[in-house]
Symmetry: C2
Subunit: 168 residues, 2 copies
DNA sequence: TAAAATCCTACCGTAATGGTAGGAATTAGG
DNA sequence: CCTAATTCCTACCATTACGGTAGGATTTTA
């Protein structure tokens, strides 16, 4: 499960990307628009600022603003900054690697072989998607409500396995 | 993070797939071979049996055994049975779906649009891989230690993004 | 009948999650 | 210079999930 912290952050960032022109936006405004607990969002945006993605200004007319262009914000970095590494195994994280005590040989570990693929696929998506791209996809989804499969959502047809559509 | 429960389960299943011919194998044997806490593994194998993947026999000469062919065991089902649905968002799980209270419109939710891709990619891997295939990959990794990229591990080259190799 | 195994229930310490409370520091406008 | 709006910072807290452990009941073979 993607933690609330990251979900709220993504929503806030999309919102900020949309209102880039409107100058700094106060936490309360974003929280109201996106139905996020104010004090919690406050803490989140602060972290986002400390990690360099946002700028802030205090006092009246203050608020938060994107520091960099949405095209340069990789969503994976956002998630990582707030919720830590997302590797499904300690031995698969580059930033927080540590050995799996129980595994004798890392190169022939079945669990690792399987999850390495999962992790790679995840990274390709979250790090390959920028904030700008995400905003674009939301727009596409909002307008093209009736069309078939927009953009990259196509299942990428592998061997058709009957059950795959009915579980999780 | 993939829970220990699932990691242990996968290891045990690979072990059992290897020793299919040797008749029922006691928990203690697997636990020793794979460095898994005995009582914990006991509970895991019991669950695996109750979900139909394993057979058990009690008393001396008893133990656990695969009930079905390794080719028919989808790894995704194993993980789900032990650790619940793996959808990164409640609104993405088919088996345990429930609305994300805070999100107004599900079809234009940015978080959902992003994570749907992640989830789909994950499912394609874990449900597309059988126990037999995993055993085969372990064997391949064990023998072909020096060769380049065995089987499906290839990065599937998308747009080369310099940083992707240095994080998580 | 003794030993080896599965089966079952209950418990338990630790850490992460998803917040809340309260206030200090900064800044704009009057 | 005063007030109100805002960010900033620290501390706390309730609930849950995780990773097991303990102890024994039941079944089966030899
Ligand atoms: S799970 Fe990390 S090495 Fe086996
Ligand atoms: S995250 Fe589920 S609908 Fe927005």
């Amino acid at each position: 499960m993607l933690p609330m912290k990251s979900r709220y952050a993504l929503k806030a960032l999309v919102f900020l990307a949309r209102h880039q022109a409107d100058g700094p936006i106060p936490v309360a405004g974003i929280a109201a628009a996106e139905a996020i607990p104010v004090k919690f969002l406050e803490a989140i945006l602060l972290e986002l600022r400390n990690s360099g993605i946002l700028t802030s200004r205090r006092g009246p007319t203050g608020g938060y603003q994107l520091r960099v262009a949405p095209q340069t914000v990789h969503l994976g970095d956002v998630i990582r900054n707030l919720s830590g590494p997302m590797a499904p195994l300690p031995c698969l994280s580059k930033s927080a690697y540590h050995r799996c005590g129980e595994c004798v040989d890392e190169t022939t570990c079945a669990v690792r072989l399987l999850m390495a693929d999962v992790h790679a696929a995840t990274l390709r998506i979250v790090d390959g998607t920028t904030l700008a791209a995400l905003v674009a996809r939301v727009d596409a989804a909002a307008s093209g409500e009736a069309e078939g499969q927009s953009q990259r959502c196509r299942p990428q047809e592998g061997p058709p396995s009957a059950k795959l559509d009915f579980i999780d």
